[in-house]
Each structure stands twice: as structure tokens, then as C-alpha cells.
């Protein structure tokens, strides 16, 4: 690797430095735009005691759900976790801690974390269980909650195309939380469908500028669909 070249060739190298007890921020919404091979590499490594920040926790047998199989996740910070039986079981057994966070607040926590903003006020969650223990303040006669931002030891991101300098573009709604996660990792790893040469991507169309990205790897993806819905 030299200069701005972020490309790595093995998944082992892509996740090098991951240790027990670390916090991982993951992009994806449901199974759409999830870094499926980076997740598989975390499973292969058997890293334990992880805090995972992601909108959802995959499904049984796919996505982040596979990290539940060997109890690698200690704490999950997510907005909606209803899609896997194993999650439910570990939650009820007390083997898994969950911090349910409103979706927009979760997105903003990542965005703010990556942007160097330690906390922000939002009206979301005022008067609800989410507000418990949080500072509130009134602005223009409305009450707001102080929410702390999130950063991670690692961010794992799924892009569509990246150049060797780590400039990334996402495809369709597979964008979702990915560009936010990308900003919030001490080490940000992006896996993409295609790595292109520097200069091939239109600069004004870049979603994630390479400054946020530490490692880029090209993978092949199953892209499982959670709810296939077609018109008749």
C-alpha cells in the first residue's frame, strides 16, 4: 500500500486489528446494503464481546445475525431488531444487551460522531422511555433531548464502486446508513462490488470521500432480499 491507495486484497487484512470488546458501526438497512463479507470475516475471527451499532441485526443465518450464533455480540445498538429468533432468545436469556434507539437519532448519532459533534438536541423521544436519564432543554418553547453521538473502533461499510483512493458511491437505497457509518469509524473498511481506477468516478458524484476510508476491498455479494415483493 502506498500513498492514498487503500486497496487490500484479503478479508483477513481488511479486518486486521479487530479485537475483543471493540465497537463496530455497520452500514445497511435490513439486509439491503450490508457489508456481508466483512461480517463473515468477523465471524471467522471469532472476536467476542463486541458492541455493534447498526439499524438492524440481520436475520437468522445471514448478515449480523451470524454473529449471534457464537455469541460474539455483547451489546446491540439498533432501532429495530424483530427479524431473528436467535436475537430474541439471547435477549430473553440476558446474554445480549440492547439499546433501542430511534432510527433518525441513530443516523444522526453516527453522522455527528463522524463530524466531531459530541452530542445534539432532538425532539425525538421526548416523553418516551428513550428520554430516561437524558438531559433535556427547551428551545423556542419546545422540549428537546440531548443525545450523545457514536463513534466506533471499526466501521464496516458496503459500497457499490470505489476507486483505489477510497472514494465511494452507493447504489440505490443500499446507501442508507453506509455513508454515516463510514465517517464514524477509527478504522473504516469499505467493501464494494467494483474497484475502479482513480479518476473514473465523477468527483461531484462521490457519496463518501476517501478521507473517511482506511481500507477498500472488492468482494462478491449474495445480496439476499428480506421481503421479495412483486406486482402481479
Amino acid at each position: 500500500m502506498a500513498g492514498f491507495d487503500k486497496v487490500v486484497v484479503s478479508y483477513e487484512e481488511a479486518m486486521s486489528g479487530l479485537e475483543d470488546g471493540m465497537t463496530i458501526i455497520a452500514g445497511g438497512f435490513g439486509l439491503c446494503g450490508i457489508p456481508e463479507n466483512l461480517i463473515a470475516e468477523i465471524k471467522r475471527r471469532q472476536t467476542k464481546g463486541l458492541t455493534v451499532v447498526s439499524n438492524n441485526c440481520g436475520v437468522d443465518g445471514f448478515g449480523l445475525g451470524i454473529l449471534l450464533e457464537d455469541k460474539q455480540i455483547k451489546k446491540m445498538i439498533a432501532s429495530y431488531v424483530g427479524e431473528n429468533a436467535l436475537f430474541e432468545q439471547q435477549l430473553l436469556n440476558g446474554e445480549l444487551e440492547v439499546d433501542l434507539t430511534p432510527q433518525g437519532t441513530l443516523a444522526e448519532k453516527m453522522r455527528a460522531g463522524g463530524a466531531g459533534i459530541p452530542a445534539f438536541y432532538t425532539a425525538t423521544g421526548v416523553g418516551t422511555p428513550v428520554a430516561e436519564g437524558k438531559e433535556t432543554r427547551s428551545f423556542h418553547d419546545r422540549e428537546y433531548l440531548l443525545e450523545e453521538s457514536i463513534t466506533g473502533d471499526f466501521a464496516i461499510v458496503k459500497g457499490w464502486k470505489a476507486d483505489r483512493f477510497g472514494n465511494v458511491i452507493y447504489r440505490h437505497t443500499a446507501q442508507n446508513f453506509n455513508p454515516l457509518a463510514a465517517t464514524a469509524g477509527k478504522i473504516t473498511v469499505v467493501e464494494v462490488e467494483e474497484i475502479v481506477e482513480v479518476g473514473e468516478l465523477e468527483p461531484s458524484q462521490i457519496h463518501t470521500p476517501g478521507i473517511y476510508v482506511d481500507r477498500v476491498i472488492q468482494g462478491s455479494f449474495e445480496k439476499r432480499i428480506e421481503k421479495v415483493t412483486v406486482r402481479s
Binding site: 438497512f29 435490513g30 439486509l31 439491503c32 446494503g33 439499524n55 439498533a78 432501532s79 429495530y80 431488531v81 424483530g82 430474541e88 435477549l91 430473553l92 433501542l100 430511534p102 432510527q103 433518525g104 437519532t105 443516523a107 444522526e108 453516527m110 453522522r111 432532538t122 425532539a123 425525538t124 423521544g125 421526548v126 416523553g127 418516551t128 422511555p129 428513550v130 457499490w160 447504489r171 440505490h172 437505497t173 443500499a174 446507501q175 442508507n176 446508513f177 453506509n178 455513508p179 454515516l180 457519496h207 445480496k223 439476499r224 432480499i225 428480506e226 421481503k227 421479495v228 415483493t229 412483486v230 406486482r231
Partner: protein, 219 residues
């Protein structure tokens, strides 16, 4: 007769206006998209990051990278835009969405809404519901008027943990269209053939019944 799910969607669709950006929740709210009046342009926002959600795809156009907030595969209409989830919630929280329609377990006379958590039952999460109710000015809640066991969902005080505080002004149930004004439910319309007595009986929170309560009409 109580309204069917389709009739509820039809009644909500009467509140749409040309040029509205609309967020529809899961369930009955989703059906509202089927009743957008002819000649009216409405753009649907899906909180994962899509403005201009279209119909479901065909088998041929199915794409794993095109889903809505319910995780169903969808298409985008001409003029759609796609963005990050932070951008999506900036639109929602910033009050840029003209109408939000969502379901609930309970609503009370103070405009509080409970829709995500039943204690001692498995809690799956609030998803984007708390952001939607906190950010939108124009919200319609759709739900049945009473539970299957006959208990009112229109209360003096929500009994379940809240999704949002003081943010609901309009409720459509299978029996009535109600608005919340000055700490009371006001009965604005009733479902065809449903008596005021039945609505009174099934509304636990304070209900104001004007002299004339028209029946809903459907085209």
C-alpha cells in the same frame, strides 16, 4: 358498519393534496397509496432514504438494492431521489414532510401516542416512528377504535409507553374521524351506519359530539 382496512385507506386518501410529500407507515397507511385521486401528484417518502417510492417491481425488475422502510422491494418514480438515512431524517425531523400516516396501539386526549412497546412482551424497537411523530406537524393515526376484546384505544391517558408526546391531532378509526382539540376528542365524522352511541361507548377519553356529525362518504 365499521370501515374495512381499504375504506380506512380511502378515507385517509381524501386528506391528500396535490404536491404533498407523504410518509406512509406499515399496514393500513401503506394502502393509502392505492387511493391517490386521479390527476393528483403525491410523492411518497420512505425513511430508509427514498423520496418518490413507486410500485412494487416485476420479477424482471426486482433489485436487492431498491427497498422501502418495510424492507419490501420497490421501484422509484420519475423524479425520485435517493439519499442517506441521516438526510432522510433531516427531512422528517425538519418538518419538510407534508403528511405522515401511521398506526398506533393507543392515542389520548393530550395527543400522546403509544405504538411501539407492550411491557412484558418482546420489544422489537421503535424504528423511525418516534422521529416521524416528533418531526411532522400533520399526522394521521389509523387504528381500530377498540381492541378485539372491546377496550377503547382512545384514552384519557395512554397506558403504554409513549412513542411521542402531544403530537397527534387527527385520528381515523374503523368507526370515526376524530380530531384532538383542547384536551378532548372531537367527533368529526362517523363511519356509514355507525351510531354516535357506539362511538361514545368505545371512546374512553373525553369525547365532544357536535350537533351534526356527518357520515363519511366514499367515491
Amino acid at each position: 358498519m365499521a370501515l374495512s382496512r381499504e375504506q380506512m385507506a380511502q378515507r385517509v386518501a381524501q386528506e391528500l393534496r396535490d404536491g404533498f410529500y407523504v410518509n406512509l407507515g406499515i399496514g393500513i397507511p401503506t394502502l393509502v397509496a392505492n387511493y391517490v385521486p386521479e390527476g393528483m401528484d403525491v410523492m411518497l417518502q420512505s425513511e430508509n432514504g427514498l423520496l418518490g417510492m413507486g410500485a412494487f417491481p416485476t420479477e424482471e425488475t426486482l433489485d436487492a438494492d431498491m427497498i422501502n422502510a418495510g424492507k419490501q422491494t420497490v421501484t422509484a418514480v420519475a423524479g425520485a431521489s435517493i439519499f442517506s438515512s441521516a438526510e432522510s431524517f433531516a427531512m422528517i425531523r425538519g418538518g419538510h414532510v407534508d403528511l405522515t400516516v401511521l398506526g398506533a396501539f393507543e392515542v389520548d386526549v393530550n395527543g400522546n401516542i403509544a405504538s411501539w412497546m407492550i411491557p412484558n412482551k418482546l420489544v422489537k424497537g421503535m424504528g423511525g416512528a418516534m422521529d416521524l411523530v416528533a418531526g411532522a406537524d400533520n399526522i394521521i393515526v389509523t387504528m381500530t377504535h377498540a381492541s378485539k376484546s372491546g377496550e377503547s384505544k382512545l384514552l384519557s391517558n395512554c397506558s403504554l409507553p409513549l412513542t411521542g408526546k402531544g403530537c397527534i391531532k387527527k385520528v381515523l378509526t374503523d368507526l370515526a374521524w376524530l380530531e384532538i382539540e383542547n384536551g378532548c376528542f372531537v367527533l368529526k365524522e362517523r363511519a356509514p351506519g355507525v351510531s354516535i352511541e357506539e362511538i361514545k361507548e368505545k371512546t374512553a377519553g373525553e369525547l365532544i359530539v357536535p350537533d351534526h356529525v356527518p357520515e363519511m362518504t366514499f367515491a
